[in-house]
Structures are given as structure tokens and as C-alpha cells.
Amino acid sequence: MAATVRYDHVEVGAALPEHTFQVQRVDLVKYAGASGDFNVIHWNERVAKAVGLPDVIAHGMFTMAEAGRVVTDWVGDPGALVDYAVRFTKPVVVPDDDTGATLVVSGIVAEKLDGDRVSVDLTATSGGERVLAKARAVVQLA
């Protein structure tokens, strides 16, 4: 592993650089193809609304992937990730227009752990709602 962030240089409470992602329908179609998750609610508005959703929603795993960028971009080596967990609380609703949904992800160093590891708490919001809860990553630092 080759994390570029040094454990000794990190303080609890330090903020990681925030990321903003636009999510459009085409992104969900690409993700469906790459991941093999073809659940209809991620690309078909008619079915999404029929099952009680406001519109097509992003795959939870797509949101988890985007949110993880805050940690992997910060640490330098994505292979330094030791543990990554999220709870999906609200869907990311993706309208059929030219902008789609906006996903904003931030992270804060929550705890310094043994073995030069730290845990990072992530906050992800879309449309003013928190879409993830208990989103936490543990990374191995240098």
C-alpha cells in the first residue's frame, strides 16, 4: 500500500476535500451495464413511479462508489481502504432533464486507530436530504 497521507500528520476533525457529482440518467444506464444491476427502478420512470418512488433513483451502490471517492482521492491509493460501510437512507432521485441530481459528499476524520489507520465519517446529501447514514471508511495511512 502506498497512501500518500501520513498518519502523524492527520488530526481528528480534519475535513477531507468535498466532492460534488452530477448524476444523470445516462450515468445510471452505464452503471447498470458495468455492474450487472438492471433493476428497472434505476432506468424506467413508469415502473419507478408504479412502485411508489418519486422518479427513477440511482443505484445505492453507485452512490456508495461516488462517495468513496472523497476517501480514495484523499489517501492517494484506493488499495489503502480497509473497511467501507454505508446505510442507504433516502434515494438519490434522478429526473429526466439536462442536469439530473446533485450529490454532495464530504468527509471528516472521526478517529485515529491503531496500526496507522484512521476512520473517516462521510456525509452525502442530494436535494437537501442525507442519502447515506453511518457512512464510514477505515483507511491505512503511511
Binding site: S35, D37, D83
Partner: protein
Amino acid sequence: MPIDPSFIGRTYPPTEPYEVGREKIREFADAIRDPNPAYRDPEAAKALGHPDVIAPPTFVVVLSMNAAEQVVTDPALGLDYTKVVHGEQRFTYQRPVRAGDRLVVVVSVENARSAAGNDILTTKGEISTVDGEHVVTAYSTLVARGTAREAKG
């Protein structure tokens, strides 16, 4: 039909080996729009200490979700897949998945219960190389909304 808690602890046979390819990793990285060179350029990955390109952390779901399907779609379990949403996801990594890995998944049922009218299933996928090296464990919780309440009438 509510979910059957007797499934807790049940372990399924290992999946057929999945060979992780560089181009599949690139396709997945493109789909999540992550430009990190460690997912595309073997030299960049080597500079970080990896023998070949590595997969993005959530790439594991390509294997784990597929493997969990044998549980989720088992009619005896009683999970209504049309009502399912993804509740929670966790990965614990021994090392990153990388190109050239030949991986098998052993799925087991961690939890199967009804709560607040929902049926909740947690599966655990142990992902190892065909040589027995543990790589990552995936925990996935699926929630079927309102199905337990409907079952009670």
C-alpha cells in the same frame, strides 16, 4: 409470506471462479467516473505497490450481488424481490481486488428477520482466490418494504 428465519446460518456452495480482467475494471471505473490511474494503468498501480491494476473498492459488488442472487431468489426464503431496496452495504478488505484474480464467493445468510412490517435479509459473501487467499468480505442488507405486514393481513 414473511421471511423464513430458519435460513440464518445457511451457507451456499462456492460460485464458479470469476476472472477479473483489466478491461472490466476499466469499464466499471468509467461507469463510476473515477479517473484514478490505478484502475487503468498497470505502471501506475505498480508505483503504488500493486502487481497489476486494482479494482475500485465497490467493484466487489459485481461478484457479491451475483452470488447472493441464489439466496435472494430462493422461493423458500420468502423475500418479495419486487419490493426490495438496498438497506446497507459493507466491505472489509484484506487487499484490493486486482486484474488476474480468479475469485470465488461463498455466500451465507447472516440474518433474516421481520421488523416494523419489513422483511430484512443480510447476506455475507466471503470472496477468496481459487487458491484460498481471502481478499474481501461483503455484507449486504436488503429490505422488502411492507411485506411482513401484508403477510399478517
